[in-house]
């Protein structure tokens, strides 16, 4: 039904009977808005609009120095080696992708001349290739022209396992070919509805062929330009000290008109989030502070009469509690949480249901995340188009108790419920991080009132998230009943995010716990839905599949979403930063300026 309506609307836009804005508003009305609404139009035959710019300055330079404070400074500047966002952020100052994402999830052109669409021949109707036209006249900082050869080179460089590039994941399954000097074609081996992954966004910036071609494969570490980037970006490299400082000056030949605004840029690393907030908001020593994960109370206090303020960006990051579907306490063939077991308590849906009623999301928001959080019933919280409207959440100790009573879990002498000799005792683990420990405490308290005994465990983040096979405390081994963390959604598309929970990707001893399905949840219908979505070129049907996938998780209570988290940054009062929840903080740096 929706499908048909949409199709006729797309027709209206094509024939000029309806304008773009009207179309997007209509979509909003049916709950399908924002970031990928534009991709719907692109695939429906109407070209995707470029994100609007809020940039005001009318001349290049003259803005003085821009001082950025990253409390974890970049440790390397080759985007292909970036282990975390901090490294991508640093490399992005100098290197550029073909396109990036603006705050609304719209595509913004950087090195590409136009957004590929079916009309302009950029998108293949079967979804198996995308052709990018490159901006003519772009030069690397050393004067060499930027061409299609550079783009192809990046693919060859990263897909060689000997290079040890982390971008191999994005680039190994595609083929990149040069059409002419200013055109490249990316070929996929299967229909790919989300075609804007390779060469798009800060993680996928392009390095120059002429400076890296002698350092492919095992020699990759020896390239002198690993530490002194020569890019195409708005700033030219000056100095780099790993973990401490990155410095650049204005690129007078930058390819975007009137940009950049600042004459020089400095990214200082080190310290902690609270003092970074202080240096930006309270004393004004710095213009912008990255990832200010600080309690809202503290931020509100700093903002009173301060020189800066906090800035929020909505993305799709969800802090969740995952429930273990296998038994973490029984060892089978030398493996705990083995697929051969069933969780003794959670195999009763009533227990999972009761637990989901015991997470007081509103209190967590009020007491911990404040302006940086939103309550949600969904696991998938963005882009808007993929967010299910079929779900609700509630906090009620009475209802939870009633569900447990009805299911036969009766309080024992010690107040803890039990049934058939099994006590409702749960181990709840997470990474060490202030807000997480406070959330644990809130959950524990509510559970206690409902007769569930919760034992809390916190693991150092570098252990919890490590791939160390020998360590029992990693999130993927999941030797606990429930665990809490978040997996960031790093692009405005849920495909990689949702694929993690396919039944065949369960983390087991056999695959060295590298399987991504750590709750060890198996659901045939979910598998079918995700596989269908993966090959579905119709954007509306595809969105419907992901909404269904989210709802299946909701029905089975695989995850209990705790909070939809927003990005929090600190900025000087007169700075106009452009920060997107779908991209790295420095991805839209070319549009930043200062209000005089």
């Amino acid at each position: 039904m929706l499908d048909k309506e949409l199709r006729s609307m797309i027709g209206d836009v094509k024939d000029g009977r309806m304008d773009r804005r009207g179309f997007i508003q209509r979509l909003a009305a049916v709950g399908l808005t924002a970031p990928l609404a534009n991709q719907i139009l692109a695939l429906g035959g109407v070209a995707m609009a470029e994100g609007a710019s809020t940039y005001k300055p009318t001349k290049r330079g003259g803005g003085g120095a821009l001082k950025l404070l990253w409390w974890q400074g970049p440790t390397l500047l080759n985007p292909h080696f970036a282990t975390g966002t901090k490294d991508q952020d640093g490399a992005r100052l100098f290197y550029e992708p073909l396109a990036c994402w603006d705050p609304d999830g719209n595509m913004k052109l950087v090195l590409a001349a136009e957004i590929p669409s079916i009309q302009n021949g950029g998108l293949a109707a079967d979804g198996k290739s995308v052709t990018w036209k490159l901006k003519p006249g772009v030069k690397w900082h050393d004067g060499t022209p930027f061409t299609a050869d550079d783009v192809v080179f990046n693919w060859e460089y990263a897909k060689d396992p000997a290079t040890s590039a982390l971008t191999i994941a994005t680039l190994r399954d595609i083929t990149v070919e040069k059409v002419d000097d200013l055109t490249v074609r990316v070929l996929f081996n299967k229909p790919t509805p989300f075609w804007a992954d390779a060469f798009v966004g800060a993680p996928n910036t392009i390095i120059p062929k002429h400076l890296f071609k002698d350092y492919m494969g095992s020699k990759s570490r020896e390239a002198p330009t690993n530490l002194s980037p020569v890019g195409t970006g708005p700033y030219k490299f000056v100095e780099f000290k790993p973990g401490d400082l990155v410095r650049g000056v204005i690129n007078p030949d930058y390819h975007m008109a009137n940009r950049p605004y600042f004459d020089s840029i400095e990214m200082k690393g080190g310290g902690d989030a609270v003092s970074a907030a202080r240096a930006v908001i309270q004393t004004g020593e710095y213009d912008f502070g990255w990832n200010i994960q600080v309690e809202d109370d503290v931020l509100l206090r700093l903002e009173k009469g301060g020189k800066g303020k906090t800035v929020y960006a909505v993305g799709g990051d969800t802090e969740f509690i995952a429930l273990n579907f296998t038994d973490p306490n029984t060892e089978v063939d030398g493996e705990r949480s083995s697929m051969k077991t069933k969780h003794p308590l959670f195999s009763d849906p009533a227990v999972r249901k009761a637990l989901s009623l015991l997470i007081d999301r509103e209190s967590v928001k009020k007491a911990i995340y404040g302006r940086a959080g939103r309550t949600t019933a969904n696991f998938l919280n963005g882009p808007e188009k993929f967010v299910s409207k079929n779900t609700t959440w509630e906090f009620s100790i009475e209802k939870a108790s009633k569900i447990l009573d009805d299911a036969g879990w009766k309080p024992g002498a010690d107040g803890i419920r039990e049934k058939d000799g099994k006590k409702l005792k749960l181990l709840y683990q997470t990474a060490i991080n202030g807000p997480r420990q406070k959330t644990q405490a809130i959950v524990k308290q509510a559970c206690q009132k409902a007769g569930i005994d919760v034992e809390l465990k916190s693991v150092v983040a570098s252990v919890f998230f490590s791939s160390d096979v020998g360590n029992p405390d990693t999130y993927s081994k999941f030797y606990a009943d429930m665990e809490m963390f978040q997996i960031p959604l790093s692009q405005p598309d849920p495909s990689q995010h949702m694929r993690r929970y396919l039944s065949n990707l369960v983390a087991t001893k056999e695959n060295k716990w590298q399987g991504t399905n750590f709750p060890r949840w198996v659901n045939k219908e979910y598998d079918a839905t995700i596989l269908a979505a993966d090959g579905e070129m119709d954007p509306v049907k595809r969105a419907a599949f992901y909404i269904k996938a989210n709802d299946l998780m909701y029905q089975d209570i695989v995850f209990i979403p705790v909070q939809h988290r927003l990005k929090v940054e600190a900025a000087a009062n007169n700075l106009r930063p452009v920060v997107s929840g779908w991209a790295n903080e420095t991805d839209n740096l070319f549009d930043w300026y200062r209000e005089e």
């Binding site: 120095a65 404070l69 390397l76 080759n78 080696f81 282990t83 975390g84 396992p161 040890s164 982390l166 994941a169 994005t170 992954d197 993680p203 570490r221 690993n226 530490l227 000290k241 790993p242 973990g243 401490d244 400082l245 400095e266 200082k268 690393g269 080190g270 310290g271 902690d272 003092s275 202080r278 240096a279 309270q282 004393t283 020593e285 710095y286 150092v460 983040a461 570098s462 252990v463 919890f464 998230f465 490590s466 791939s467 160390d468 360590n471 405390d473 990693t474 999130y475 993927s476 963390f485 978040q486 997996i487 960031p488 959604l489 790093s490 692009q491 995010h497 060295k512 590298q514 991504t516």
Partner: protein, 319 residues
Amino acid sequence: MSQYVLRRLLIAIPSLLGISLVLFVVLALAPGDPFSELATNPNVPPEVALALRAKFGLDDPIYLRYLHWLNAMLHGDWGFSFVSRMNVDTLILQRLPTTLYVIGSAQILALLIAIPVGVYAATKPYSLFDQVANTLAFVGFSLPTFFTGILFILIFSVTLDWLPFVYTTDIKGTGIHWLAETIRQAIMPVAVLGLFQAASMTRFVRSAMLDVIRLDYVTTARAKGIGQRRVIIKHVMRNAMIPVVTLIALQIPAVFGGAIVTEQIFRIPGIGSLLISSILSNDTPVVMAVTFVFACLVVLFNLIADVLYGWLDPRISLR
């Protein structure tokens, strides 16, 4: 004498080997790996992280990894950082000047306070000056640097807005202006560290002086009619300083090792902050290099202290 030094140096070899072995094993047993940040990135499949682990040799048995490291170290190859893929020696040399400047200044400040105050307090024990100095010293070394550091920031940066609290190695301007800024931004960290050191050193100087001041030869010197000033400076201090010199010699490795807490608070890009960030990200080659160099310096300065001792006090003979 030279024979003694040679023998000590030879003894140092097995002890350094032992130290390196212990360090290596402890680091290898520590949980976690440098790629933990990749785990939650859905764009990076786990097998990529696993392949990197294998490539960096993290999956080899410990003894093999140790032998590799030792062999490379003997050839002057310190290895490369897993996190920044940069040579470890470059990384350390880049940060050494800042640490030497800040921690060195703090040590000098500590000496400049501790020696005069300690000496003066010892000449007039239990006087008002002595009482006040003692109390302050007690307060000084009871307050940890993370507390005084934040206190200083609140007073001098936030409230008074006199001093910057983010240390930057990139100061604009040249000549006098540059010098002034370099000094200005170092005031707080140097004061925090220097006062902490000064507090304990003052008490040490004072008690060393008191030990000597009661000796018979001092009374003799006074009986001969030599002025108080000369007695204290020429006769008492010279002998009382012998243990103090040893103490200072043993403090010097710390100047190279940096100060983890203070460097973190003021964002000083020194060895201490390098060490702590490397430990947190399980960057074994860097942690290994920093701690091992530190161990070498401790062994070396122990030897220097012993030699100095013999030179200052001829009654001690080194064989």
